[in-house]
Symmetry: D2
Subunit: 350 residues, 4 copies
C-alpha cells in the first residue's frame, strides 16, 4: 500500500509514479488524426479495427482485445470474464488487484481473492498449489484463476519459463492464467522479447494490457489470448461501465503505441533511467535497495533524516512506512538530468 504525502510539485518530473507523467507527442498526433468527422460510436469504427489488427500482430491471431478505460476496469472485468461469483482468484499479496483496487474485483465479480505472501511479488507453482484445495466442496470458493503481475508490483520480471510453469499449473487444475500487464512493455524490454513470447506462447489465457503508465493518456485493454472465454465479454464490458462511446480516441492511442515502436522506446527509456538511478543510489551507503531492479521501479530503505526534506522537493510514495521503505518509479519521459537533480538532493540531505 502506498500512502501519499500531499503536496503539489507542479509539472516537475519526479519519481512518484509513472501515472504522474504525461503523454507522448505521438499519441496526441494520432488523436488529432482520428478527430475527423463522424464514425460509429462504441468501437465499430476503422481506428478500432486498425488497433485490433495491431494487437493481433503483437499477441498472435488468436488474440481478441477489448479496450477499456483503466487498469481497475481491465483487471476486474478480466476476472469476471473467467470466473463465476463462486470462484476464487489466487494472487500475490502485493498484487494491485489485492491492494489497490478498493475491493473492485470482489464487488463486481463476487469472487474471493486468495492473497499469497511472496518475497519479490512473484508467484510459483509451489506457492500456489497448497491453496488449490476444496475442489468440488461447495463450502469453499472454487479456485479458477491465477493472476500475476508482469512486471510485479516490486519491479521484478517473470521469465517465460516461469510463466509457462504457472500456466501449466493453472491448466492442470482447470484454471486459467491472467497477467496484469499494466506495465507489460517494461517487462518486454527487460526481457528483450516480443510480447507474444511471454504471453500467448507461454500459455497465458487472458491479459490486462495497459499503455497509460507508459506514455498513453488513458488506454487499457482486456485481451483474450485463448478466445474460448471472450464470447460474452462485450456485455460484461458494457455492464462493467467500461465501454467508451468515442472509442476511436482510445484506439488511436493504441495505434500510436503499437504501430511503430513507441511502446518500446518509452519503456526502454524508463527501464534505462531506472538502471541509472539504481547505479547512482548504490553510491549512497545509507540507502538500501530492497528489490532487484528489473523494470522501472526502485525500492529503497532510506534514512529517517532525509525523508522529510526530500519530500519537500520531490513527491513520492511510501511502500512500507514502518521500514521507511519507499518506491521510486522512472517514466517514459525521465531524463538524466532529473536523476542527477534527485540524487543531488539526496546527497545534500544525507
Amino acid at each position: 500500500m502506498v500512502v501519499a504525502f500531499k503536496h503539489y510539485y507542479m509539472n516537475k518530473r519526479g519519481f512518484a509514479s509513472d501515472n504522474n507523467s504525461g503523454v507522448s507527442p505521438e499519441v496526441i498526433e494520432k488523436i488529432i488524426e482520428a478527430n475527423n468527422g463522424h464514425v460509429i460510436a462504441y468501437g465499430d469504427d476503422p481506428y478500432t479495427t486498425r488497433a485490433i489488427e495491431l494487437f493481433k500482430k503483437h499477441f498472435g491471431e488468436s488474440a481478441v482485445p477489448f479496450f477499456v478505460f483503466n487498469g481497475t476496469g481491465a483487471n476486474t472485468l478480466a476476472i469476471s470474464a473467467i470466473n463465476r461469483s463462486f470462484n476464487s482468484v489466487i494472487c500475490a499479496a502485493s498484487a494491485h488487484i489485492n491492494v489497490d483496487e478498493c475491493s473492485a474485483p470482489e464487488k463486481f465479480s463476487g469472487c474471493k481473492l486468495i492473497p499469497i505472501e511472496t518475497p519479490d511479488g512473484k508467484l510459483t507453482p509451489e506457492l500456489i498449489e497448497p491453496h488449490i484445495t476444496g475442489i468440488g466442496f461447495e463450502h469453499h470458493a472454487q479456485p479458477k484463476l491465477i493472476s500475476i503481475s508482469q512486471p510485479t508490483e516490486m519491479g521484478t520480471v517473470y521469465k517465460p519459463d516461469e510463466i509457462k510453469e504457472l500456466s501449466a499449473c493453472a491448466h492442470k487444475h482447470q484454471m486459467a492464467l491472467h497477467i496484469d500487464g499494466a506495465r507489460l512493455a517494461n517487462a518486454a524490454v527487460s526481457l528483450g522479447l516480443p510480447f507474444k513470447t511471454f504471453t500467448t506462447d507461454s500459455g497465458v489465457d487472458i491479459l490486462s494490457f495497459g499503455g497509460t503508465k507508459n506514455g498513453l493518456m488513458g488506454a487499457e485493454s482486456v485481451v483474450f489470448l485463448n478466445n474460448k472465454f471472450s464470447e460474452n465479454f462485450k456485455y460484461i464490458r458494457k455492464q462493467g461501465m467500461q465501454l467508451a462511446s468515442k472509442m476511436r480516441f482510445i484506439s488511436a492511442q493504441f495505434i500510436a503505441y503499437l504501430e511503430n515502436d513507441l511502446w518500446e522506446r518509452n519503456a526502454k527509456n524508463s527501464n534505462n533511467m531506472a538502471q541509472l538511478l539504481y547505479k547512482k543510489i548504490c553510491q549512497f551507503d545509507e540507502i538500501k535497495i530492497t528489490q532487484p531492479v528489473e523494470a522501472n521501479g526502485i525500492f529503497a530503505i532510506v534514512p529517517e533524516k532525509i525523508i522529510e526534506p526530500l519530500l519537500q522537493e520531490y513527491f513520492f510514495y511510501a511502500w512500507n512506512e514502518k521500514k521507511n521503505e519507499f518506491r521510486w518509479m522512472t517514466s517514459f519521459d525521465t531524463k538524466e538530468e532529473d536523476i542527477e537533480g534527485f540524487c543531488d538532493t539526496i546527497k545534500k540531505h544525507l
Copy 2:
C-alpha cells in the same frame, strides 16, 4: 432501444448520434496544454482543481463534482451514492438507465428500477406518486431516488418549474432527485437559462453531467448539488472502476468546456441544426415528426420505401422498428450543408 444497421460511413458527418462526432479543437488544445511534465495522479492536480472551480461557478458553491469516464459510470455511481441496495429508482421507461446500460445500475447498486411509461419521456409527480408504495414494508424495495433525463431521450426538455415539482415530490417522500444530464448543455441552451437555475436552484440533489456528446473526447461527472451525499463517493468511484489515473486529461476537457462558452456554442449549433432539420423535414408530408423538437434530437416515422436506400448513405438508429420510427441527432459539428445533403437524399428516395 436503438438497433444498429451496421455499416461504415467513414468520417462523413451524419445524424446517427452525437456520440459519433469528434472533438472540438479547443479541447485538444487544452489537453496539449495540460500535457506538461508530471502532476500527481488521480485528481490531486491543478487542472482538476481548476475544473472543480468551474463546476462551482456554473452549479453553485455547494456543488461537489467527481469526474468519471462515461455516462454509464456517472449514472450507475450516482445511484449507488444515494441508494442502498434495498432501495429503488423511479425513472421513465425510456430512460437511458433503464434501456441502454445493460443492467449496469442493477448489477452495481443492487437496486430495482421502476420504469414508468410516459408519452414524451417526461416524468411528473402524478405519474410517480402511485409508485411510491410499500414504504417501511420490508418486502418492497424502498423508493429512494427519482431519476430524470434532461433533455429526455425523446429530445424534450423539462422547464425549471417542472423540475421543482419533481424535487418537491422527491423530498416530501425523503427521496432524492437525480438528473441524467448527458446532454445538459442542450437543455440549457433550449431553455436559455444557466445550468444552476434548473439544477441546484430547482432542488436537484445529484447530477450526471456530461460533455462527451457535446464535443468532448470522454469526460463525464457525478455532481453532488446537495453535498450530504458525497462523503463516501471517492470510494464508490474507485470501486466502481471510474477513477482515472491521468485525471488531468479529463479535467482539461472540462476546463475547455466550461471556462469560456464552448459548452454553449456547441450546444447552440446542434440545437439550431435540429431546428433547421426539423423545418426541412416538415416539408416532406410522408414523414411524421413524433416528438417536439426542443433539443438536438428528432424522432420521425419514415415511409418504408426510403429506409433501406437512406441507410445506404447515412447511418442512423431505429427508435421503434415496428413503427418505422427513427431518431436523428444533430451534433456540435453539424453544418447546414450536412442537413441539405441529408434532405436531398431523402427527397431523392421519396
Copy 3:
C-alpha cells in the same frame, strides 16, 4: 403489493395469507422420525436421498432438486442459475419476484427484471414477444429467462397448453422458462393434473417448488427439469446462503408432503374452501370479486364502510388500496366454520 394493517389476531384462523397458517401434523411426525442420531450435514443423508427420489417420481427422472429455505431464495437462485448478470428476466408486473422480494433478484443476480402489465397475472407469447429486443446489442440486458407464477399472484391458473406456448416462445429465443411454484400444489389440484404434466412435460426448464404455503414448516426447492443448468448450482446455493446444515429436517418435510398425498389433501382443502368462500361472498352484492377463483386466493373490492370493522376482527392485506381491493387466502387448515364466521362478520357490517 400488499400493505399490512398491523394487529395480532392470536392463533385465530383467518384469510390473510397461507403463510399465516401452521404445519400439518404429518410434517411434525416426519421431523420427529428424522430426529434420530447423527447423519451427515448439508444433504448427504438418507432423508434427503429419499426426498430427491420423491421429486423424481413427481417431476420425472430428469428432475434435479435442490432444497432451500424460502421462496425468495428459490426464485433468486433459480434466476442466478440460468442467467449471467447481463441477462434479463421477463415476468408479469404482479410477479412475486418483481413486487415482493425487496429487489433480492436484482441484488444477487445483477439482472434486470422486465415487468409486463397483465389483466390477470398471466403472461402470453403475445405479451412477451415485444420485449425480446436488442438481442446481441451490448447496451441492452439480454433476455434469457421468462418467469411465470403458477398459480399467479391473482389466483389464476395456467393450462398446460398455455405453458407449452410459453416454453416454445422461450426456447425459440434461446431462453428458458421458469415457474415460481410457491403454490404449485394448488395449481395441480385446480387442473386435476399431476405436477409433471404442466411442468416437465410442458417444457418448463426450472421450477421453484414450495411447500411452506401448503402446510410445511419451511421447505422450498429449486428443481432443474432440464438438467443442463444444474452443474454449478451447489455453489450458487451455498454462496446464496441457502444451504441448510441440518438439511434432513427440510427433506423430512418434503417426504411428508410427497410420499403420500399430503400435498394434494392440503391443496384440495384450501381450493375447496376458496370456492366455498367465493360462493358465499357472491351473495353480497356490495362486494365485487375481481379475478376468477381458480386456486386458493380471492380478490374482492369491498365497500369502504366495512373495511375498518372487518379488520378489527380479521387481519388481511390490501391488494390495491386505492380501489379498496383486498386479497383473501384460504389455507390447508381452513374450516367451513371459519368461512361462516368471516361471512357473518361481513354481513354484520354491510
Copy 4:
C-alpha cells in the same frame, strides 16, 4: 478447510460435526406448541415477540435480534449491516467467513476480507493493527469491521478481557467488532459466564448467535448489541433471502433454547464430553492433540495407519490433510459410551 471422506454412517452418533446431530426434544415440543392456528407471518407474531424478550434478557436491553436461517446468512448479513461495499473485514485466516462460506460475504457485501494467520484462531490488537492501513486512501478498501469467532474454529475461547481489547482496538479506529457465535453457548459454558459479560459488556457491536450446532433444528440470528446499526436491517435480511415466512417456528426454537437452561445443558454436555475425549486420547502416545481443548472441538494429528480403518467406522473431517490433522467435535447428545466406542476403535487400530 474441511474435506469430507464420504460415507453414510446412518444415525450413529459420531464426532464429525455438531451439525450432524439432531434436535433436543424440548425444541420439538416448543415447535408443536407454536403450531396453533394462524399468526401473522414474517415475525409479527407472539412467539417472535417472546423470543426477542429472551434475547434482551440474555444480552441486555439494547440487544436487537433478527432471526435468520443459517450461519452463512447471519455472518454475511451482519457484515452487510455494518459495512458498505468499499469496506473491509479483518478476520482470522481460519475464520468460517473466510474459509467455509464459498465467498458469500464477498458476493453479497462486496467487501474484501483481510485474513490474518494465527496460531490458535484468535486475533489480537497486535495482529490486527498492521492491517488497519490506507485509511482515507480511496485505492484501499477501508477497514470497518473486525470479526472474531467465539469459540474459534480451533476450539479455543476468548476471555472477556481479550474481547475488550479487541473492541477497544476496533472503536479506536471507528470500526466495529463482530462475533461469529455459531457456538457461543459452548464459549459461555467454557468461561462460566453469562452471554452478556463477554458480548455486550465487552464492547461487541454485532453478533451472529446460533443454536443449530447446539441442539436446535435451524435457528440463527443477527443481534445488534449497539443498535445504531440496526435501522435498515429488516430490508437487508429480506433482500438477503433470510426472512422466514413462518417465523414462529424459528422463534419457538429460540424460546426452547433460552427460556430455561437448554442452551447451557446442551453446551455443558458437549464441552464435558470433549474433555472426556481429550483425556482418553491423551493416553494414546501416537496421537498428538494440537490445540487447547476449551470448547467442544478436538484437533489431533493421527498416525497414517489408523486413518482409513477409523474412517470405515466413524465419519469425520480432515483439518489439515498434509499433516494428518483431524477435527473431532462432540455434541449436545454425545454420550460417554460414544467416546468409549470411539476410543476402543482407535485402540484396536493403533
